[in-house]
Amino acid sequence: MCLAIPAKIESLEGEKATIDLAGARATAMTSLTPQAKIGDWVLVHAGYAITILNEKDARETFAIFREMEGLTK
């Protein structure tokens, strides 16, 4: 239940972000990360971005990123 998934913010309307979630488009609220902006990587849990990720850390960190990179190579 505490699963949180990294995603990239594609567009932002108020606190409502359209995110790229491993290739799928979804929405997440940025109420808990008010400093988030378009292009940021965030960690999304239960519909809310709970932290902003450093892209370098995120790419090194998450297996899902490596799988995505594998798909695009």
Partner: protein, 359 residues
């Protein structure tokens, strides 16, 4: 040498130091359902030295939720104008009179939501119904509930309420450390709870009990890096709190902590198997009680009756492994679960069953 090989080399070297100091058994507890699953999925136990044991703690929110809560949810689902909105994990958990899934088969209105604010939207779209949101989970999930309740209040969505049973992780860690029949040499602390709380939350525990408390991420390398750091601290006899997960800061997410503080009061809470733990739960503050399901509906008292023979309680306290339960894999399987640890996708029993974990 790749990173994983380096971490394993470190683990072996710390283990040798611990062994030469006379320690032949070290037992670490993870308190995060996602770690439980990742450890089993990655077969990480097989990469660790013999004598280094990993046990699961009360890290699966569904598993620590009392059966009486499920009974209340199933009872509410039987009221004709109620829609139950819930995260998917809760649907198949058996209560004493069946699960929400069974209630749905009998005509109850049970909707799975992926975000708390979706439950508010559901209520807005169905003004003829009462939408009851099952608000369980740890610090990670509580801010979403808090924001949903505030949204319902601000938008005047009065047919929305939450049946709250949010819990806090560190009070349970303290109770576990005071149990004399469970050995815990260090904690692998939850990654996403800690994104909210920050790793400094564990510092008082590390200092008071002399136990390493290390936050780890979720891929194989990060979990092994967390284990390696715990072993280093044990070998150096320098237990402390820290994080090896880059997403976690010392003080966590200030907005999330603030919204929890402004929406909930800390209260005593009843945990499955652990009983009532002082100051371990969250209850809505007075100004939000209109959105408290327990106040809106006249709920009967439900007694907690554990399924006979089920050892979920012992599993989530680290007293036994899932495979020690006589029902494991026979009477109790993911298809026909007896206890919550076999139902939840983050439950230890489900993880052991799915990945065939031997030790």
């Amino acid at each position: 040498m790749n990173h994983l090989a380096e971490i394993r080399k470190d683990i072996d070297s710390y283990w040798k130091r611990l062994s030469s100091g006379g320690k032949s058994v070290v037992q670490l507890m993870e308190i995060c359902g996602t770690h439980t699953v990742a450890i089993s999925r990655g077969g990480l136990r097989s990469l660790l030295p013999e004598g280094l044991r990993l046990v699961s703690g009360p890290g699966c929110p569904v598993c620590v939720t009392e059966q009486s809560y499920m009974d209340a949810a199933v009872h509410l689902s039987g009221i004709s104008d109620v829609i139950i909105a819930t995260y998917g994990d809760m649907v198949r958990v058996p209560g004493s009179s069946g699960s929400l899934e069974q209630a749905r088969c009998d005509g109850a209105n049970v909707e799975i939501v992926y975000a708390a604010h979706n439950a508010v939207e559901l209520a807005r779209n169905r003004p003829d119904k009462q939408v009851v949101f099952l608000a369980i989970g740890f610090e990670t999930t509580a801010p979403a509930t808090a924001l949903a309740i505030r949204q319902a209040r601000d938008e005047g969505v009065t047919n929305f309420s939450a049946l709250t049973a949010h819990k806090l992780v560190t009070p349970a860690m303290r109770v576990l450390l005071s149990q004399t029949d469970v050995r815990i040499d260090g904690f692998l602390c939850p990654g996403h709870v800690s994104v909210i709380t920050g790793w400094r939350e564990y510092k008082p525990i590390a200092e008071q009990f002399d136990k390493p408390c290390v936050v780890a991420g979720f891929d194989d390398e990060q979990i092994l890096a967390g284990i390696s750091e715990i072993l280093r601290q044990l070998a150096d006899d320098a237990p402390s709190a820290c994080s090896v997960y880059p997403a976690v800061s010392a003080d966590g997410n200030p907005q999330a902590k603030q919204v929890i503080k402004e929406t909930f009061d800390v209260t005593d809470a009843r945990w499955r198997a652990l009983g009532v733990i002082p100051s371990s739960g969250l209850v809505l503050k007075g100004e939000f009680t209109n959105f408290d399901t327990a106040r809106r509906f006249d709920l009967p008292e439900f007694e907690t009756v554990e399924p006979p023979g089920c050892r979920c309680g012992d599993v989530i306290c680290g007293r036994c492994l899932p495979t020690d339960c006589p029902m494991f894999g026979g009477q109790c399987t993911p298809r026909e679960p007896v206890g919550p640890c076999m139902v939840s996708s983050e439950g230890s029993c489900a993880a052991y069953y799915k990945y065939g974990t031997k030790r």
